[in-house]
Symmetry: D2
Subunit: 95 residues, 4 copies
């Protein structure tokens, strides 16, 4: 890994595009609430954002595992694996 | 329920405030990716957004249950309950 | 609601059958671990049990909502709805 | 990795003990349903079992990552990482 580069660097534009789309979806939820849209429809949109965030998180973690864990010097692989699994654990419980 | 009013109507400003804060958090994630921040830190922020969205969804569903399900005329309560539990099911699996 | 009867009472044999099948799946996991089966295959079985438990929980909550919340005297519906949504919240975070 | 050995092998008795305790918890749920216990209390127990299964799955995956992914010959690490992240994805959605 070169300085300033991350597991997702080769993939950065695609990740940014996804996150910007999620920002748009969240703004869409604001619009729905402002327009007094039906509760269940708002929750359905929240669920769609959650699914999109799950996808981003899994991509980031996969890239991280492939590049920053496997790619680490042997002496740091174990520590990085612990860190990765910690992120998985938090993601499963949502903090 | 009056025309145009929803379960969250009495609570609308608080819901909007929460959703706007989430929009800010998502923009923060974009900034982190643009700045090549460490993968695990980005995922930690994604997890924080997920937790905030869970909270919004649960509030919307609680308000909906209290106002639109219990508050419905007797003949519609059962149908609305099915709809509510469908939303819960989708939320648990994220779509 | 009569004494000793619950939201799932009309459905009790079906619920019991499901839970017994889950018990069998858990015993299957024990057998896999004892036989030194591949880690990923064991986790896949754990995931299957989780999905089966989600289904049982959602059925119990739906029955509860239909019978014990909607069916409650008006003065207790709101309190029971809070209790229901508390169970949903815990289920989403797994405790 | 020697023949017949898995990532959890050094930990096998602890894993088995946990899974057996989960089996006991599931039998406890059967007992609660047979005794017509309150729906919400049954769901609370289901949630406890889910949390215990999450823990087992995360331990299995951590052991797998530490031993079977990092420990694999270089040519197989990437493929095993994909497989690991696939298991994480399924676990997050419960199948």
């Amino acid at each position: 890994m070169t300085e300033g580069s991350q597991g997702y660097s080769h993939n950065k534009e695609a990740v940014l595009k996804r996150v910007r789309r999620i920002e748009g979806q969240v703004r869409g939820i604001e619009g729905m609430v402002e327009a007094d849209r039906y509760c269940i429809d708002v929750v359905t949109q929240v669920t769609a954002v959650q699914a999109a965030l799950d996808k981003v998180a899994l991509e980031l973690l996969s890239d991280h595992a492939q590049h920053c864990v496997i790619g680490a010097e042997a002496g740091r692989q174990s520590e990085r694996t612990d860190e990765l699994m910690g992120a998985v654990r938090r993601l499963m419980r949502h903090g």
